[in-house]
C-alpha cells in the first residue's frame, strides 16, 4: 500500500536482474525515496568507495506518494555516492518518470557494478531487460529519448538518460528524464556513465493503491485546496515560476554575481520572469510559451520556452526552434548572474543544451563564472581556453563553453572538472564558490545569513534544497525572519533540513511547502501507507535521515572543517545593498547548530543522539 513492496536489483557487471521485497522495517523508519534509498546505500556501499567505480551503486527511488493523486506526487530521487563531492548524493526530479516507475510496479531500482559495454535498461512492467546501447552511446538525451521511444514503438515510455556529458563522466553531469526534468546535482549522471548505463526506459501499466482510499482522497483534496488558495502556489508559481526570484533576491542584495564578487546584478531584470513573459523586440513573441506541470502537480511552475529563431545561437539550427524546458531561477542565475550575462535568449539556449547533454546548469554556470575570473585576472589565457574570450558578460563565450563541456572537448574538458578542481589546478582554490566541492546556488550568504549555514552543513555539498531558509528570511514563509541576522538561524536551518528530508522521502515536491506544512503532508502519507504517520514521526524520520547521511559522510572522511564556506564569503564584505559591509557569519551559527543537532563540536553525532533516533 503506497509502497509496491518490490525492488529491482540490476547487476550491470554480470548482466543479471533480480527482484526482492522492500525491507518494510526500513520503510517504517525511512519512509521512501531519499530516506529509504539512502538507507540501502549506506548499508551496501563503503563510504570510502570510489564514486566512479563499480563498487558504487546508483539507486532510483520513488516515495510512497509517487504515482498517487496527491498533488506533486510524481517525484523520484537518484541516490549514490556523488563524484563531484565524494559525499552521499541525493538528487530529486519531477516529470513523469518516477510515477511511471511506480506504475511499472517498483519502489526502487538499485544499479550495481559496471557493465562491460554500454547498455540501457528497459522496465516494461515486470519485463526488465538490459539491452545493448551501442546505437545510443554518443547521442544526446533528446536523441536517446526519441530513439528509445521509436525503437520500442511506444511514445508512452518515459526515459531517464545521460547525455554525452554523463558518458564522459563530467563531474556535474545529471540524469535527465522527460527531456527537461533532471536529477541535477552532485554528478549523479557521471555515476550512471561510469556504469556504462545510458538510459532507463520505463513503461508501467499497473495501478497504485493506498492504505485507505477514502481518507486518502479527503486528505489529498484538502491539500490541493490549500495549494490552490495559497497565493504563492495558487498564482505566483504557476504564473511566474521560480524565476520571479531574480528581482527579489537581487533587490535584497543576495544575488551572487560574477563569481561572487558582487551581490547585485545590474541586469537581473533582463533575465527575470518578467522579461521572459514580455514580448521580444525581435519578433514580438515572449520567450515563455506556457507553464507545465510535472506528474500530479496542481501548482505547475515549470517553464516552457521557445528561443527566438533569429537569435545567433539557433539561427542556423532549426532543431532548436521547438518549445522545451525554459529557464528556472537557479539556471538563470548560474548561467546569467554568476557570469554577468544578460542575454535571455542565449541563456535559454545554454539551458536547452544543459538539458540535452545532461549538465547541471548550476555547477556549469558557476564554473564558467570562476573560469571567467581566472581569465580576467590573467591566470588563464586564450591558449588555455582555446581562443575563447572568457570575459564576464560574454554570451558567446558561455555558448562555446556549453557546447564544449558536454562533449568534453578542448577547454570544455577543464570546465567539466567543476570550479573546485579547475581553480585548484591553476593555484587559485579561493576562487571556487563551493562547499564540499559543490558550487553553491543563487543566494549569497552575506545577504541571507541562514543560507550560509545551510550551504556549510548540507550533506551533499552546497545546496539550497537541503534547507531553504530563503522561504523564511526573504519570502516570509512560514514567517518572516531578518536575512541579515544570524540569531535564531541554527534552529531555523535544522527545522528546514529535517522537514525537507521528510518531504523528499515522501514522493512529494518540496515546493508544496510554500503552502503546506507537515500538518498538511502527514495525513496524506498516513492514509497512503501502514504505520502511524504523525507530524512528529515525519520530523523524527527527517532528523534520522539527516544523521544517517552525516554519518556516511563522516566515514567518507568529511569533518567539521568541511562545514565551511568559500573565503570570499567569510572575508570580503558585500559591496552594495542591504548587506553592504557584511560577511557570512558562519562562525556565529555553527557551534549552536552542532549543539541543536546533538553533535559534538567536531560535527559528530553523539551516542545519545544516535540512540534517540535509532539510526
Amino acid at each position: 500500500m503506497g509502497w509496491t513492496g518490490k525492488i529491482l536489483r540490476i547487476d550491470l557487471t554480470n548482466g543479471t536482474v533480480n527482484t526482492e521485497a522492500l525491507n518494510m522495517e526500513w520503510a517504517d523508519k525511512y519512509l521512501g525515496q531519499r530516506g529509504l534509498a539512502s538507507k540501502y546505500l549506506v548499508e551496501e556501499v563503503d563510504p570510502k568507495a570510489d564514486p566512479l567505480g563499480p563498487e558504487n551503486k546508483l539507486i532510483m527511488a520513488t516515495g510512497p506518494l509517487t504515482g498517487t493523486c496527491a498533488s506533486t506526487g510524481g517525484r523520484y530521487s537518484v541516490i549514490t555516492k556523488g563524484p563531484l563531492t565524494g559525499a552521499i548524493a541525493c538528487s530529486n526530479s519531477g516529470g513523469y518518470f518516477g510515477a511511471e516507475l511506480k506504475f511499472a510496479g517498483w519502489d526502487m531500482v538499485i544499479f550495481e557494478g559496471q557493465s562491460p559495454k554500454p547498455v540501457y535498461v528497459t522496465i516494461f512492467d515486470d519485463d526488465v531487460q538490459i539491452r545493448d546501447a551501442g546505437g545510443l552511446w554518443g547521442k544526446s538525451v533528446w536523441e536517446a529519448d526519441k530513439k528509445i521511444k521509436s525503437d520500442h514503438q511506444d511514445q508512452m515510455i518515459h526515459v531517464a538518460a545521460i547525455g554525452v556529458a554523463g558518458e564522459n563522466e563530467v563531474l556535474y553531469s545529471c540524469i535527465v528524464n522527460d527531456l527537461h526534468r533532471a536529477a541535477g546535482r552532485s554528478g549523479v549522471g557521471a555515476v550512471m556513465g561510469n556504469k556504462n548505463l545510458k538510459a532507463v526506459a520505463v513503461r508501467g501499466t499497473g495501478g497504485v493503491k493506498v492504505k485507505d482510499f477514502k481518507t486518502f482522497m479527503d486528505a489529498t483534496n484538502a491539500g490541493k485546496k490549500v495549494l490552490k488558495d495559497n497565493a504563492v502556489t495558487g498564482q505566483g508559481l504557476p504564473a511566474f515560476g521560480t524565476q520571479v526570484l531574480m528581482n527579489v533576491i537581487n533587490e535584497a542584495g543576495a544575488m551572487p554575481t560574477r563569481n561572487g564578487k558582487d551581490v547585485q546584478f545590474e541586469s537581473a531584470n533582463d533575465i527575470s520572469a518578467e522579461a521572459m513573459a514580455e514580448p521580444r523586440r525581435s519578433d514580438g513573441k515572449p520567450n515563455l510559451l506556457t507553464n507545465q506541470a510535472c506528474f500530479g502537480c496542481t501548482i505547475a511552475c515549470g517553464r516552457i520556452s521557445k528561443i527566438d529563431e533569429t537569435h545567433y545561437t539557433v539561427q542556423n539550427k532549426p532543431e532548436y526552434w521547438h518549445a522545451s524546458g525554459g529557464l528556472e531561477y537557479e539556471a538563470a542565475w548560474a548561467l546569467g548572474s554568476a557570469t554577468g550575462i544578460k542575454d535571455l535568449e542565449g541563456l535559454t539556449y545554454v539551458n536547452f543544451i544543459c538539458n540535452e547533454q545532461g549538465l547541471d546548469p548550476i555547477t556549469f554556470g558557476a564554473t564558467v563564472g570562476a573560469a571567467m575570473e581566472l581569465y580576467e585576472t590573467g591566470v588563464i589565457d586564450d591558449k588555455i581556453t582555446g581562443g575563447i574570450e572568457l570575459k564576464f558578460g560574454s554570451s558567446e563565450a558561455l555558448v562555446k563553453c556549453v557546447e564544449l563541456t558536454g562533449k568534453a572537448e578542448g577547454f570544455g574538458k577543464e570546465l567539466g572538472l567543476g570550479s573546485k578542481r579547475l581553480t585548484e589546478k591553476y593555484g587559485k582554490p579561493e576562487l571556487s564558490m563551493t562547499v564540499k566541492g559543490q558550487e553553491f546556488p543563487a543566494y549569497d550568504p552575506r545577504g541571507i545569513q541562514g543560507m550560509g549555514l545551510t550551504y556549510a552543513t548540507s550533506n551533499r555539498g552546497a545546496c539550497h534544497l537541503r534547507g531553504y531558509t530563503v522561504a523564511s528570511e526573504i519570502l516570509g514563509i512560514p514567517e518572516k525572519t531578518d536575512p541579515l541576522e544570524t540569531d535564531g538561524k541554527p534552529g531555523l536551518v535544522k527545522a528546514f533540513q529535517d522537514a525537507t528530508a521528510a518531504v523528499d522521502s515522501s514522493g512529494l515536491c518540496v515546493f508544496t511547502t510554500f503552502a503546506w506544512t507537515l500538518e498538511d503532508i502527514a495525513p496524506q502519507v498516513d492514509a497512503a501507507v501502514e504505520g502511524n504517520w504523525t507530524v512528529d514521526k515525519m520530523l523524527e524520520v527527517g532528523e534520522r535521515i539527516w544523521n544517517m547521511e552525516r554519518i556516511f559522510n563522516n566515514k567518507a572522511g568529511f569533518t567539521a572543517a568541511d562545514d565551511n564556506l568559500p573565503e570570499r564569503l567569510l572575508k570580503d564584505a558585500a559591496k552594495t545593498g542591504p548587506a553592504k559591509g557584511l560577511v557570512a557569519g558562519l562562525d556565529k551559527m555553527l557551534p549552536e547548530y552542532y549543539d541543536l543537532r546533538g553533535w559534538t563540536q567536531e560535527g559528530v553525532p553523539t551516542n545519545e543522539t544516535l540512540e534517540r533516533l535509532a539510526v
Binding site: 505566483g236 504564473a239 527579489v248 533587490e251 518578467e274 528556472e328 531561477y329 516570509g476 510554500f514
Partner: protein
C-alpha cells in the same frame, strides 16, 4: 523628491505610464510613507506582500509609518516564491 517605484510580477500593471521594465521614476512629496505611496498608485494592499525599501523588508504594520526619502528604491511583490 524622486523615488524609484518598482512593481513586479502581477503588480506590474499598476506602474504609471512611461515605466520601463518594472520601474518608474516618480515624484513624491515630503512625508510620503510606503503605504501612502502605494495607495496613491492604487496598488491593492492585500497584494503587497514583499515590500522592500532599498532592499530591506518592511512588515505591513510598519508601512504606514516608514517615510520614503529622495533616491530611495521601493520594490513590491505579491506573494511569490521560487527555488
Amino acid at each position: 523628491m524622486q523615488v524609484t517605484l518598482k512593481l513586479f510580477a502581477s503588480l506590474t500593471p499598476f506602474l504609471p505610464a512611461g515605466a520601463e521594465r518594472n520601474a518608474a521614476q516618480i515624484e513624491v512629496a515630503d512625508g510620503t510613507t510606503i503605504l501612502s505611496l502605494l495607495d496613491s498608485y492604487n496598488v491593492p494592499r492585500e497584494h503587497c506582500h514583499l515590500v522592500m525599501l532599498n532592499g530591506v523588508y518592511h512588515a505591513p504594520e510598519a508601512r504606514g509609518s516608514v517615510p520614503v526619502s529622495d533616491g530611495d528604491h521601493l520594490a513590491v511583490w505579491p506573494p511569490v516564491a521560487g527555488g
